[in-house]
Symmetry: D4
Subunit: 149 residues, 8 copies
């Protein structure tokens, strides 16, 4: 987390057992120089804490990581009009449960879902979103892509 | 809904499109003479309204009906220590999405899930729960079962 | 098991191979001070023994643990009007088989299903059910939840 | 049903809604001249009636038809050492639930499962089983197969 | 489509048979006053046309709608660093094929996936993304949410 | 294999990699004193050898073990009117592919499917079938069941 | 079927109920001027007839259409070293059963599987295969593709 | 790779992590004496490089290996009228995601899909395709099959 600045991306996870995915998100955001902060808050065990965190957050984009009946991304999305990116974690059933629990949000409250355990893509999508209004950020993404060839 | 008494069972649904399932729950509760009330509140579109409703409710048991990424039962369960019964509704994928979104709750916050579209079993499970402390209710369930033979 | 008292929760498993899940249920019931007893009886290999056990039991709530074509919870539910909580165990197909075999009970005989291998939630749901008629039990659940924040 | 003789095949269904599948089984047994009888008994709603029926039956083979958490074939199999053929019925999830609930029986108590809604194959398998000890029956099956070319 | 301005959102579909989903996206974008344009281009049948369209587009966000082996969103994402939102369409297998074909993108090239046939959420997520840099847009989303209570 | 007698049960497997399942079948047949023989023949790699084997076999019951697109049981069933028991092996997708490839046989040519990797149940079902015409065999099965209590 | 010439493509189906898919294959082959012949032969009900047909055929490519436990393509592939294209038909479970029964062939005997009910792609793949050795055929495919733009 | 000749089969993979599958394909092609070349190019990370490679290739058949949202085979197929064989790799969900992403191509652009991780069958299907116009190649396949008996 870059201190002294308002973080652009808030990275939330439902459980400490999601640490490896958190690390993938953070590593990619760091690589692209995007300020972020990380919080582990369960949508089910800490609903009040989550509500307070979201209502006080200045983040532009939320990344929410969760396994099983992965409600965290949807609950965050119900509390903000900022874009929410959901990362399903494969705990049981290979992650099919969390993928469906995140992707199949009802009309009205969207979550942008990335692949199972795919923290890197969540970070990249967050950066793409920030790049819509910040061409310097977009240019860093373009440079990364060029480096692949 | 029986008026003038505090309802024993609160029946919640995420969407008006779940009316047929609501009706199955209500019909069975009426058949067994159990007071109840019905509310349609989306966990995602009306999170504050839901929170207020649950915190003010005197219901002994909650039945929560939802389709797709069916978060309603889990969100209710995060707000109460009363038993919550979840009814997955088959909107897409035959209801596999809602079944997993309800059943696969993380350790700490349980939901008792019944079958897809199975409002009748949700009502019967609610009545069984009330019967634990009220033998008259249990006797009505036993009588119903005897009538099947 | 607390001796000298009628157990409030009967914990049944279909096979000795379910011991880890049994342990999770028992540990949580102990943590919340709820009397219980454990029996390993297969619905398929010991149907008579199961029938005798259920018909003689004074338990208020049953927790039934089973894998594969997990009939134990449903067979118990067919023999009692006490609430039955089913725990699917992941033996094959990640537990999808046992989840469906438990959750998809036909109208008339409900089982409240918790997540795959989720013995802790089965115990908590059993305690919530007992708490409907016993506010001291409910208070212990509320205290547990407060400790999470 | 052929009267005045002990039926060779007992055809059981869990619900009257399975009538179309019952009809397919019966039509094929009639076509091959095999005595049979039909009973609609729910494993969950009428467990005692089922137990009495099975313990008194002289049938050589059982065909058990059930949907959802289709426990009927397995429960019958737990009560007899006669071969039990299970027919999963597609009520929800295209019948995947009933297929798994029937096929995934634990070691010790087998059920021979045929395809979803495939009453005809259940009947033919029953006749093949009777043909093991009755070459006249086998010959009728061979004649049927020859007629396909 | 609002003429005379560069569209903010490009709405792409793989086939004319996706028209109902296109309409849901467009209706929601219109409701929130967001400029957009619609193109039907198959990633497989018109790969060159798609490449030309994407390389020439000034859109800030892409919504890509596709069924079956739904490659359109991923192919678009491989050609731009703008955020791409994928909408799986249920043509076969209830849409499970298209959901997986869109959500399971490999690390490096993200797509934000919404629910099966859920054009409305794709549009809302696109508007949320535009709202990151345009508070007037965000305010319209907040107003919409308030109107739900 | 008991020599000097025509084997009652032919145990076939599609691949040497199925040896553990073959062993489960054989062990159970030995336990119950039923003559058998084992052959490893692929339905796809050795179709002629399979045809010769089946047409020359005097077996009363066939057990066919196969993984992946598990055609062996169905191909055997197309060549005989003896009962064929199929054992799906979990090689990929947890065995869902082989379960469906065996169970979903078209009307006319039945296979009795047991659970994934469940060689023991295949053997027991074979013995139950032989017991229809041989009460000594049935008595051994009854004795085995009594020993479980 | 073009008469007086040896057909290049043999189109086989397991059942007359597959006629709509047969028609899609034939229409596309006609459109591209490729000689073909159609046969309805069940791998399970007519195994000898199938064997005779395949051993006598001069076809360069086989298209095999089948639903349920769709063994036809694999059985054909076991009898020839010509390329075999399998078309899964959606009869139950949306066609997932037939897709897996065709695609998951064991190493040694390949089938090239196309999408569920996708007769058109089977025909196009057959034509692409013929085009490897016949540039006039390839040119017709290229012309078709150009017509899409 | 045989040098100094135009390769008959181009073997493409989306990621270096697919090396074991690449090896299976190459080993089988070598065994049958078929010239080939291998390229690792991601459809998503290197779309331009892929386009250049395909447009310049003289290969008669393409084998494309990919996991997750496995777009590589379909993207290759959109760029050539040569036959494309897709190999789904099991990375998540046992490979169900990649199987569906490859097999469910829309009408017009076919891919011939083989089983999950089944590089050997992809190679054999490629050789069968080459054998249509080259009887020496077909004879080698026939000899291989004879060696299995």
């Amino acid at each position: 987390m870059k201190l002294g600045r308002s973080p652009k991306v808030a990275v939330l996870a439902g459980s400490k057992s999601d640490q490896a995915i958190i690390d993938d998100v953070v590593k990619t955001l760091d690589e692209l120089g995007v300020e972020h902060e990380v919080q582990v808050i369960s949508a089910h065990r800490n609903p009040e804490k989550l509500r307070e965190y979201i209502s006080g957050s200045k983040a532009k984009v939320f990344v929410a990581i969760a396994g099983l009946a992965a409600h965290l991304p949807g609950v965050v999305a119900s509390m903000t009009v900022r874009p929410v990116i959901g990362v399903p974690v494969g705990v049981k059933l290979g992650g099919l449960d969390s993928l469906l629990s995140i992707a199949q949000m009802p009309p009205g409250v969207p979550v942008g879902t990335v692949g199972i355990d795919n923290g890197r893509n969540a970070a990249l999508l967050a950066v793409e979103i920030l790049g819509v209004g910040d061409s310097a950020v977009s240019e860093r993404l373009k440079a990364m892509r060029k480096s692949w060839n």
